[in-house]
Symmetry: C2
Subunit: 388 residues, 2 copies
Amino acid sequence: MIYLDNAATTLKKPESVIDAVVSALRTMGNSSRGTHESSLATSRTVFETRMKIAEFFGARGPENVAFTMNSTEALNIAIRGLVREGDHVITTEMEHNSVLRPLYHLLKDKVISLSILKADKNGVIDPADISGLIRPNTRMLVTTHSSNLTGNMVDIAEVAEIAHENGLIYIVDASQTAGCKPIDVEKMGIDVLCFTGHKGLLGPQGTGGLVIGSRIAEAEEGSGSYLRPFKMGGTGVQSYSKLQPSELPTRLEAGTLNGHGIAGLDAALDFINEVGIDAIDKKEQSLMNRFLEGVRTIEGVTVYGDFGNPRTAIVSLNIWDWDSGQVSDILSMDYDIATRPGAHCAPLMHKALGTVSQGAVRFSFSYFNTEEEIDFAVKAVRDIAEDR
Amino acid sequence: MIYLDNAATTLKKPESVIDAVVSALRTMGNSSRGTHESSLATSRTVFETRMKIAEFFGARGPENVAFTMNSTEALNIAIRGLVREGDHVITTEMEHNSVLRPLYHLLKDKVISLSILKADKNGVIDPADISGLIRPNTRMLVTTHSSNLTGNMVDIAEVAEIAHENGLIYIVDASQTAGCKPIDVEKMGIDVLCFTGHKGLLGPQGTGGLVIGSRIAEAEEGSGSYLRPFKMGGTGVQSYSKLQPSELPTRLEAGTLNGHGIAGLDAALDFINEVGIDAIDKKEQSLMNRFLEGVRTIEGVTVYGDFGNPRTAIVSLNIWDWDSGQVSDILSMDYDIATRPGAHCAPLMHKALGTVSQGAVRFSFSYFNTEEEIDFAVKAVRDIAEDR
């Protein structure tokens, strides 16, 4: 199989990730839940991974990293733990449902009011438009770092500047960029970065988390920037405290962590640091461009997005007016190429692009794909388009 | 190492669990996120595991099983998704912080009022005492199935009867019993069962979930028994619905599931079904009794709990008036025996048992422990107690 669905999950993981998970499954106790060697070793692995994540994303320290099951959970924690009743929130049409749905629920429950920044016909937003949406009670800005449909990126450093000039909290969804685009929360001015471990970070499913910028991390309980806990439960420390302890990262973690998955993520970070994020990005961009150059001139093929701007390694397209699900099925069944069709949990992007009913076939590339695979995929698209 | 901390996490997993996780790490796409083979195969694995969990716990169907990161998350979803403002909730002193803290937070936020059923000096509750706590606005009852400190069980079928006679919703924390004690949510009248995958179920960390009884599953949106969503986000289906879809289990799951972990849980369920839960329970009970008989007569040893009643394979003890952390350290360093000291996230149990400052050393047994390990542990306890 030629796997080109890496924006959903990277299928190929470094062998060291698999080895680390196997070793963890044979030796791991419960992190922070005992003083014997297998529990301590687990705590050490979790702590080391926190350190590496903190360093990787430019956080002040390991305590500013909290682990979750996935990026969606991280976004729920960040959004719902920071809004206050009566807040106005700004987001964009580029968002995934993991941002939109928590906000729509808060809107329905009359906790917040909401403005959604329009994207142009290529699905791109202009950060300069944000200022026009700011109201006196605007308190939070949530944007993706990159669209999971077109791959187009948001200049998060620019957005952060606008956010801070206006006293807004800025939450970034890095589901599509963590592991393949450099991010530094402190330098870029991000308040909370939400990431997943199983995509660009090349780790196991069931991993992800929040990287908390210093402004939020240092906020005192009761203050407007205090990130309230979302789940409460056992923490292995301060058992006699009735409430969830306020220290980070304990405040945001409850119950047994996915130690086995985190061990894999730890190894994945080592792999990425060894290869270098720039080398990974460069290879992915080269594969994406090779694919794009191959398909964009094929008669009947429409590609979506802005190809003049920074982007992650995604090309979404349609062939003629054919249903994207049907095209993806042909790619899978006749060519053994894995892509993703349909709506991609990004409803407003399909409205911007005019592909609500057709959906789009998404090709997304990873460091482990090869030029031969790309060439085969281009040929497949050409064959299908010509065969009408 | 002799690992006797199985109530925190089972260290030894069946080899088939490790094989299944490795295979998943090599082949798995993203469940419900594509139509190609690696995505479909993932969806199938997740669905099959849902089926097996449903069957294992007597649920009506696979849609009544929702996956979470752990039992704590499941309890947060169940408790916070079912309470309404002004409700009175009853729980017990036997609970873990995963039950107590979500309730204390709701109490602090003035959403609920709370009564806590007293345990006797052995840390056991009498279900008959529940009736005395019921008020006109009582709507929910939350109990553990078994104390994580003493191993003493709650007769959940009896509690369920009291709950339903009084129109209460009954939530059960099965963290200590799932996988080693038979549970049938429909026959026993449980409304929501919360389980973890990495303890008695012998699966990987990062797995767990809710098994939803038919009364809650069938409740219509807006009705008092409707379990509201806790996390919102991408679901791979109904992308154009602004709100989290109301169908189960989608309503309670958002973002990418821990497919790699669930594949391991799937294999773990096969192992348990093959060996038989009764055989597992019998062996664990036999190991526990062997240990108990060995240590209870040693001068200076105090064991905690009621040993005349049904229990999970846990023996918690102290030696003289020594700090439990110190004893656990000696066991680890001098004997290479892994136990757990301290407060065990069960603050009210320590109050009931009178061990708030001393804590207790917990020995917890698994199907994979051996009689030789037990005998060695008994000898270690004797040596330590005599060496004063």
